[in-house]
């Protein structure tokens, strides 16, 4: 379960005028464990920021974020890194595979970072994941040799390597064609369900919304940061 309470966050601007920075406040936000939720809303409403706060790549200025009973707002940088690698799987719009690693090595990237688990077991899991997305024959291929849809499927496998309880996807279908969009979302939902992970996916595509358990409008989750009221 993901639970956010009385959270404020503000990006720091470059000038001394802090009121010009983007910020948001979240009074209360909860996503049940194992649920798949689509996050919608206009640009600038804080969707990516919310994902960043949940992933721990952004720090809240105040408030609390609990992910499966872990108060991540209390973590230091090192703890946040370990929390992220073990608990959060992320899929990005631009796939963000490393071009100098093979497909299987890209999937193993979280293990290269954490070192958790036995090599044999992890390699087997990676191979199983790749097989489950129909790319078993592409183990030794380089990302540049794959189509966009295939690259995103590899990214999904990477996100799922450590069996993360939380799966965050920020517009993962943004660069894909219609057919691949459907396939990738189906894959995300299926993997989340199989793993009992909580899936939170940002999307602008309304045709994909019925694949999720629920849809959240960001305008209902967060309000813009008000410097005056905070003072």
């Amino acid at each position: 379960m993901i639970n956010i309470k009385e959270l404020t966050f503000r990006y720091r601007g470059r000038g001394p005028n802090l009121s010009s920075s983007f910020g948001m406040c979240v009074a209360e936000f909860t996503v049940p464990l194992g649920a798949s939720t689509a996050l919608v809303g206009p640009s600038g409403s804080g969707k990516t920021t919310l994902l960043g706060l949940i992933a721990g790549t952004l720090r809240a200025d105040s408030g609390s974020i609990h992910v499966n009973d872990q108060a991540i707002t209390d973590f230091n940088d090192g703890e946040l890194g370990r929390y992220r690698i073990r608990n959060v799987g992320q899929v990005f719009q631009a796939f963000e595979l490393l071009g100098y690693l093979t497909v299987i090595e890209n999937i193993l990237l979280p293990w290269y970072i954490s070192g958790d688990g036995r090599k044999f077991d992890i390699r087997k899991r990676a191979a199983d994941l790749l097989r489950s997305v129909g790319l078993d024959s592409k183990q030794s291929a380089m990302p540049g040799e794959l189509s966009q849809g295939e690259q995103q499927r590899v990214a999904v496998c990477r996100a799922m390597l450590n069996n993360p309880p939380v799966l965050l996807a920020d517009e993962p279908t943004g660069n894909l064609d219609r057919e691949n969009k459907q396939n990738v979302v189906d894959l995300l939902v299926e993997q989340a369900k199989r793993n009992n992970s909580t899936l939170l996916m940002v999307t602008h595509d309304e045709s994909l919304l019925d694949k999720f358990d629920s849809v959240l409008d960001m305008r209902q989750v967060a309000v813009p940061y008000d410097a005056e009221s905070q003072r």
Binding site: D77, R84, V88, G99, E105, L109, P110, I113, S114, G115
Partner: protein, 392 residues
């Protein structure tokens, strides 16, 4: 952090071209000064070692360096010649052993060294195959000559004519190879050794021809008067000494007037050496030099040049390091997105630092290993390179 090192290694392996250029640059940067120093030190050691093993050299007054280089390394630059009587006269005083050296000619690119059996004992040269020189006209060749020309005992080697167009000049002599010497890693490996009288024959001071006293001499006889026979120019001289014609070989004139390029002098002790040096000190025609002293002067210059070369290489290294640093910095700039991905996935900043450091480390490690390997190879082949250089 082994994961970070693995990622660093994979990055380098994937970008082979860039990695190779970096490695090559650093390898050269490390290897060149080391190789320069190695070659200079090895050449100095080789020069001084051989020079230190040679107590004294006697020759015509003139350039000491030329005399020493020709005597020790059979250098093509010839000192002025001295007469064999110098050796005979000096030997008669019993102060040292005098070893003749006549190194004037070449045979297929190898210097021909006319000497005595004492030379082989002096230089501790051993026969690897075949036997020692026996008859006039035979030779023993150094190990490198045998390898280079594919020759062995029983084969022949021909002395090179001094000039093709000089009809009255030095004729080539076909010499039978009696033996091949063991390799010593010195200039002796690249030489052809003959009895000094054979080298005089090559010079034309001795030769073989049909017996003019016999009636069979025929057309070669210009005139017979009393007991004197004069030959004409059609008299054929033997170009090879064999057991059948060796008796026909003879010298014209007294051997004491025949030339040597130098004499190696081996006194039994320092006292005799000092006496000898005193005897030749004021001699206007001859000089007795200590090879080690002569080469020390040469080496001082060599080391001075070496220092300048290494200084230049050091400056170049700084420039190389600056460029390499720039390359790494630019690379990090270009890979910002990749590092962000790693951080977002969960890598710590120190993880990314280790990744970058391992890339730099691998490049330097490989370069260092290559430089070390090249240095070892240079050390191994240095002597052969130096010998070729010193005997040219």
């Amino acid at each position: 952090m082994t994961g970070a090192m693995f990622l660093g290694w994979r990055y380098l392996a994937h970008h082979r071209f860039k990695s190779s250029i970096l490695i090559a640059s650093i390898t050269l940067m490390l290897f060149l000064p080391a190789a320069t120093r190695l070659l200079v030190e090895d050449s100095a050691t080789a020069l001084t070692s051989r020079a230190d093993q040679t107590p004294l050299v006697l020759g015509a007054r003139g350039s000491e360096l030329e005399l020493v280089l020709n005597t020790l390394y059979f250098h093509a630059e010839l000192p002025a010649e001295i007469e064999y009587r110098t050796l005979v006269s000096a030997q008669s005083r019993g102060l040292a052993n005098f070893i003749p050296i006549h190194s004037k000619f070449q045979a297929q690119g190898a210097p021909i060294v006319g000497t005595s059996l004492d030379y082989f004992e002096f230089r501790a040269l051993k026969i690897a195959s075949g036997r020692q020189i026996g008859l006039l006209g035979e030779c023993v060749i150094g190990a490198n000559v045998a390898t280079r020309l594919g020759l062995g005992p029983g084969d022949s080697i021909i002395s090179s004519p001094e000039t093709v167009f000089d009809i009255a000049g030095v004729y080539p002599l076909k010499m039978t190879i009696a033996g091949v010497l063991e390799a010593t890693g010195t200039a002796d490996d690249a030489a052809v050794f003959v009895d000094v009288r054979t080298s005089w024959i090559i010079q034309g001071l001795g030769h073989g021809h049909a017996d003019l006293a016999r009636p069979q001499a025929g057309a070669a006889v210009l005139s017979r008067r009393d007991d004197i026979v004069t030959a004409n120019a059609s008299l054929t001289q033997y170009a090879e000494i064999t057991r059948d014609n060796i008796s026909a070989f003879h010298f014209h004139g007294s051997a004491e007037s025949f030339p040597l390029t130098s004499v190696i002098v081996v006194p039994p002790d320092q006292k005799n050496a000092t006496l000898l040096r005193g005897r030749f000190q004021d001699n206007e025609l001859l000089q007795l030099v200590v090879p080690g002293t002569v080469l020390d002067d040469l080496l001082e210059t060599v080391f001075a040049v070496q220092n300048y070369v290494i200084l230049g290489l050091a400056i170049l290294s700084f420039a190389t390091i600056a460029v390499i640093t720039l390359v790494f910095l630019l690379s990090q700039q270009l890979r910002k997105g990749e590092f962000q991905t790693l951080l977002r996935i969960g890598a710590s900043r120190s993880y990314v630092s280790v990744l970058i450091a391992s890339e730099i480390g691998f490049v330097f490690l490989i370069s260092a290993l290559l430089a070390a390997g090249l240095t070892v190879a240079t050390r191994y082949y240095a002597m052969q390179v130096l010998q070729t250089f010193l005997t040219l």
